[in-house]
């Protein structure tokens, strides 16, 4: 009966994967897989790329998309130091208040402030975008199936619509958007930003960079998590081996009798 055990364990692992694929299969579009710095067990964020991605977000996306779960201080995770963060956050205007007269007032941002949202509320966002709501990007990579590949595909998925495909006013044709009609005009064009580090801002480069940045924003804990995971799992494997041989030794007299 022990011989069967390995088979049975495999069986349950397969059983799990089976469930998962059946879930994944329900989202029907396949996105081309990119080679991301952060994929895999040892993957880490390419900090330079993520910093460039932040620049793209700031100069392009943030006109419409907020990231309300992030604060400027969080950017220290991308390698900015305290002074840089102070200078950076001070460039934003924060409406604070009430002051001693009970009025709201505007002050320069501080690292502890959350990212400034482009719109005060969802209604305003819809009104400014023809009824479509530009989603918050704080969690976008985790909130979409195969998030990073999806975003990259979407950003590079703007094509001319086929002749017989009717694209209504205010909508745009995108091969990777469910239904192929998206309310967001193509956001990224070659040289849309001028990278501080001199990297050539091709469409592909920008889309990779901004996706890396957004992946970091979704899972800022990822590098810590993987690093701790390697330690914990190595520990547990050694522990398992010790426990196994202890068990064999303790059981030896019993097994001998049987």
């Amino acid at each position: 009966m022990y011989k069967n055990l390995t088979f049975k364990i495999y069986f349950f692992i397969i059983f799990l994967c089976f469930y998962k694929t059946s879930l994944a299969a329900s989202t029907n579009i396949e996105y081309p897989s990119q080679d991301w710095s952060f994929s895999g067990i040892f993957g880490t964020f390419d900090k330079a790329s993520a910093q460039r991605g932040f620049q793209v977000y700031r100069e392009v996306c943030s006109g419409c998309h907020g990231m309300r779960l992030l604060s400027y201080r969080h950017l220290s995770g991308l390698g900015y130091n305290n002074e840089e963060l102070k200078a950076l956050s001070a460039q934003f205007e924060i409406t604070d208040g009430p002051n001693d007269n009970g009025e709201p007032f505007v002050r320069p941002g501080r690292p502890s402030d959350t990212f400034v949202s482009p719109y005060p509320n969802e209604q305003a966002a819809r009104a400014a975008n023809g009824g479509a709501y530009p989603p918050d990007l704080s969690l976008i990579v985790k909130a979409r199936a195969d998030g990073a590949n999806y975003l990259h595909a979407l950003l590079s998925g703007y094509k001319d619509a086929p002749k017989d495909f009717n694209v209504p006013e205010g909508m745009y044709y995108n091969t990777y958007y469910p239904g192929k009609l998206i309310g967001m005009p193509q956001p990224i064009y070659e040289d849309g930003v001028e990278y501080a580090d001199g990297t050539k801002a091709t469409e592909l480069q920008m889309s990779k960079d901004v996706t890396t940045f957004l992946a970091w924003a979704s899972e800022p804990e990822m590098e810590n998590r993987k690093r701790l995971g390697v330690t914990v799992i190595s520990f547990l494997i050694v522990f398992s081996i010790l426990a196994y041989f202890s068990m064999k030794q303790i059981w030896a007299p019993i097994k001998k009798k049987v």
């Binding site: 329900s26 969690l139 196994y244 049987v258």
Partner: protein, 416 residues
Amino acid sequence: MSKNKSKNSVVEWIDYRLPIFTFLNHELNEYPTPKNLNYFWNFGSLAGITLVVMIITGIVLSMNYTAHVDYAFDSVERIMRDVNHGWLLRYIHMNGASFFFIVVYIHIFRGLYYGSYKAPREILWILGVLILLLMMATAFMGYVLPWGQMSFWGATVITNLFSAVPLVGESIVTWLWGGFSVDNPTLNRFFSLHYLLPFLIVGLVILHLVALHRFGSNNPIGIDAKGKQDTIPFHPYYTIKDLFGLSVFATIFAAAVFFFPNFMGHPDNYIPANAMQTPAHIVPEWYFLPFYAILRAIPDKLGGVLFMFGAIAVLFILPWLDKSPIRSSQFRPIYKLFFWILVFDCILLGYLGAKPAEGIYVLLSRVATGYYFFHFIILLPLLPNIEKTRPLPISISKPILSSSSFSTAAAVREKK
């Protein structure tokens, strides 16, 4: 162990007045356990440990969580981003739910395979089914707390099940919600109950253990221990074996928590709840999928709900449905075959639960649902009449159906 019983006068003083040490020694140390338990008997203790881990991480998470529709989602994200080790605690708790169900489902199927529900362990089994029910309620309400899209719509769909009750259905649902839709009052009470129910589970687990220790564990060949030669003390033999099982389990669990924390989750739950928009494809967590498939297989609203609850209710009367006096399916060739069909059937139901309710999937769900009930209600009572069982061994230590290696070894010894 008697030497340990002990020179320590403080322990003796306490034990004389409160015999807690005697009790622990008796139940966790000397406790006679069949010597032939296989690794499937690890899952009981694993389930207990997982429960403790869930309660501990849950308590610390609740220190940082805000049960209010405006703050719940953000407070969970604050846990993920700002609270020290918050991401670790949350991912342990989140994946812990899935692993708890994996462990408990294996534990249940082990019980089915080896006939652990049969006399005199009926109450033990029933307590187990009650624990399963409470686990489901707890897991469901816990899934609502992050207040993402799946939380909200899962809550809406599941609470709406009760609207199928004739006459008072609508009132029950309104009562569950504390309003006219899933909203802040619902979230608050779910949080309260999600905190409470695990402690009820602990209570049931204690009863489950009391019932277990009355007659001791069942074992792979399913016959009672005949005497000392068939049993060994729980410690150190099964403590070390459970520890080994735990270490392997923890390794797999850690791999999920640290490297694939969202594998068993759903991306839509990272979108804040929106009462105006249902996600395109809503599915429950994987551990509910078989039941969800049964619900959808029945073309009638009330019928679907009844069958779904019936799928668990039937487990309560299982000890009386299975009339065969033989416990282990090692000696029941036909039952063994149908057991594996049932396993496959449940997996198929789970698969179908994740699929949209259309086309071939509907038909398959009906067939699978049909088999599920056929298995318990018709097959099990009738099987003893037609099944020719294999001869039972005399005792655990002297299996007459011993492997050939045993007899050759004995023969070799004799020759010497």
